[in-house]
């Protein structure tokens, strides 16, 4: 029985992502997944190592990468690697709060009739420019070198390790005053910073804005389509997802170069 259980565990070890619903602390999600995977009850299997990738705070939702057992090692590598994450932010014009979201105390109210989509896009372009500069500065490479050029060509130019949050891409996907939706890619961010970005956009437009929803749609190679929702947090589903992911990884591995003649 124990051997069978251990063998069963092998299938469940690996990396996969879940969809964290809003309003729930990420720790509860992690604990819930641990309980669901630990279908084998008994004195030996009381706890398994379940690790969480980049965290999501309580009111955000979206892709949360989970590593089980031996998958925690690649999880660590993923965490260290600087890959971007995709977010969808929903904002609302008209009021500003102290914690930049709906739940905070309202600090200021203003009108927003003068705000149009191209004004918003202008502000976003400005933001993107500032962030691009920051990206180049923090990449610690001399801008005038050949190395910098090659890195920029292959798209590897970026900060290695710690840096302040940087938005690498930013665009408007929906505009229906007072509501608007942004889509952005970023590095080293926190959800609070993203809400602050929305707040600042409001200020730049000479109005006020606050963030109503933060949703992560991609974390590195894990996207929303592969994420498991709450009804799917079972050991069987997890094993399937991990297998699927491993297969796709195997397929995308580059073929060995042909031997030189």
């Amino acid at each position: 029985m124990a051997i069978r259980a251990i063998r069963k565990f092998r299938w469940v070890e690996g990396l996969f992502c879940v969809y964290k619903p809003p309003g729930v602390h990420w720790k509860l999600v992690r604990d819930r997944i641990e309980t669901c995977i630990l279908e084998v009850r008994g004195p030996e299997f009381r706890r398994i190592k379940v690790g969480v990738g980049h965290r999501l705070d309580a009111s955000s939702s979206g892709v949360l990468v989970i590593g089980v057992g031996r998958g925690n090692k690649p999880l660590n590598d993923l965490y260290q690697m600087c890959c971007t994450r995709d977010y969808t932010l929903e904002g609302e014009f008209g009021f500003a709060t102290d914690n930049f979201s709906r739940t905070g105390r309202i600090v200021e109210r203003s009108t927003y009739d003068h705000v149009t989509q191209d004004k918003l896009e202008k502000v976003l372009a400005m933001l993107q420019q500032a962030n691009q500069k920051a990206l180049l500065i923090h990449s610690n490479v001399d801008m005038r070198s050949q190395e910098a050029y090659e890195m920029a060509v292959t798209g590897e130019l970026g900060p290695q390790g710690k840096s302040p949050p940087i938005l690498t891409g930013l665009r408007v996907t929906g505009f229906q005053p007072p509501f608007f939706t942004l889509e952005l890619q970023c590095l080293n961010e926190t959800q609070r910073y993203l809400r602050k970005v929305v707040h600042e956009i409001g200020l730049e437009l000479r109005s006020t804005a606050s963030c109503t929803a933060v949703r992560r749609t991609r974390d590195g190679p894990f996207t929303v389509d592969q994420a498991l929702t709450r009804g799917q947090w079972t050991a069987a589903q997890v094993a399937l997802t991990i297998q699927h992911y491993n297969n796709s990884k195997r397929q995308s591995r580059p073929l060995p170069a042909p031997a030189a003649l």
């Binding site: 969809y19 619903p21 809003p22 309003g23 729930v24 004195p43 939702s61 949703r215 929303v224 994420a227 929702t229 709450r230 009804g231 799917q232």
Partner: protein, 419 residues
């Protein structure tokens, strides 16, 4: 656990001894003498502190070593199936002490014996068969342990409990429970109580559950247990009901008759129900009798004042779903808030389906938003396409999607990911 035994032991013997480490007792005889009690203490704190007492030729290291004799127990001394418990330890300790005192007398006379001429019997020396039969093999039972695993093979109580199906691995984590179980005698303590439970009508699987949850029932006085069961029967609970109540609320029989009486009266008074209905509620949820009353009072206050339910509405809801009384105050208010203010469901409909309070707020939210998105969120019973709250909250995902929302499960999953 057992460490407390050893610590007490040590405290009692600090006047003579100082070391607290456990030691192994070795009884062996040399080929020179017959019944020689040799005690070797391997004192961990004192490397190389060997103390050997031979019957007549005792060699005692000087008085400095005397203070570093460890705690010893002669495990083969009393051949008993159970482990050396506290009182046995002290008995053996006093024996050991008296022996040491005798030895001390001898050493004081032989104090001038050379330590170089120590007669150490070598382990590779052959001993005669006669001496071998006198050799007592030391028991390998540790005097203290952090788990009951070491004692299960030896102890009759523990092994029988394991055979019953009691979850010892859970029980040993609770403080003092392990020691208590070890000290119980199977024939005099455990068996009468098990028989009593079986007479009541508890099944074997129920026995294991009760003991895993409430091992202290094995310490309750049998007369008290009988009195409490008789009291419940006098309150017109049928014997089968009593058995099922005890199985589901294992701590029930630990309460005195007076306490049980008070609690039943409390529920009858607070809910304003007649005795048969109170009996019904308590029989369905016996936890009400064995849990604390403060949260129940709080919940009733919340229902009345914050949520605005009338007395008869609360009665109706509790009759349908007694679990309401023990539910979390915050959860109740959150679910009610969402139902009443966001979904615009009226009081009387919530009263009809109190089981919505059992489900999670997130589930209700997701399903409601999905129906809203599809345009079929209709909770007014007078209107067409009415969706009842219990179908909204209690149906499994698959059934909800096909019957209530007329959509596929994949659509629902995709929608959940846009929240």
């Amino acid at each position: 656990m057992a460490s407390s035994c050893v610590q007490q032991l040590c405290r009692r013997s600090t006047s003579h001894l100082r070391s607290k480490t456990s030691c192994v007792t070795l009884l062996y005889s040399t080929h020179v003498q017959n019944h020689v009690a040799g005690v070797r203490t391997a004192d961990k704190t004192n490397a190389g502190g060997d103390l050997i007492i031979h019957g007549n030729h005792s060699i005692f290291h000087t008085s400095q070593r005397r203070q570093q004799v460890g705690v010893c127990y002669y495990s083969g001394y009393n051949a008993s199936p159970l482990l050396p418990t506290e009182h046995r330890d002290t008995k053996e300790l006093t024996d050991a002490l008296s022996q040491i005192k005798d030895a001390q007398h001898l050493t004081e006379t032989n104090a001038r014996l050379d330590t170089d001429e120590a007669v150490y019997p070598s382990a590779s020396e052959e001993i005669t068969d006669k001496d071998a039969s006198h050799t007592m093999v030391p028991s390998t039972l540790p005097s203290e342990s952090s788990s009951l695993r070491d004692y299960v093979d030896e102890s009759e109580t523990l092994s029988k409990l394991v055979q019953l199906g009691v979850k010892l691995w859970k029980l040993e984590q609770r403080p003092n429970v392990g020691t208590m179980l070890l000290k119980l005698d199977f024939q005099t303590d455990v068996v009468p109580r098990l028989l009593f439970l079986k007479e009541m009508g508890v099944e074997d699987s129920g026995l294991a559950y009760i003991l895993s949850d409430n091992p202290f029932i094995l310490k309750e006085d049998l007369e008290n247990l009988h009195a409490r069961v008789n009291y419940l029967k006098s309150q017109k609970f049928s014997p089968e009901t009593v058995a099922s109540m005890v199985t589901r609320a294992p701590y029930l029989l630990n309460f005195s008759v007076k306490r049980l009486d008070n609690r039943l009266a409390f529920y009858q008074q607070q809910l304003g129900l007649n005795s048969s209905k109170t009996r019904g509620i308590v029989a369905r949820l016996p936890r009400l009798l064995s849990g604390s009353l403060e949260p129940v009072k709080e919940t009733l206050r919340v229902c009345k004042i914050e949520l605005g339910f009338k007395e008869n509405e609360i009665q109706h809801m509790v009759m349908l779903v007694p679990k309401l009384l023990t539910s979390n105050k915050r959860k109740l208010t959150q679910i009610f808030d969402y139902l009443h203010n966001t979904m615009k469901v009226q009081h009387h409909l919530i009263v009809k389906f109190p089981q919505v309070f059992n489900s999670r707020l997130l589930r209700i939210k997701e399903r409601h938003l999905f129906l809203d998105y599809l345009g079929t969120a209709q909770y007014d019973s007078d209107q067409p396409n009415y969706i009842s709250l219990d179908r909204l909250a209690s149906l499994p995902d698959e059934a909800f999607c096909t019957e209530v929302a007329s959509a596929t499960l994949e659509d629902f999953i995709m929608f959940q990911k846009t929240m």
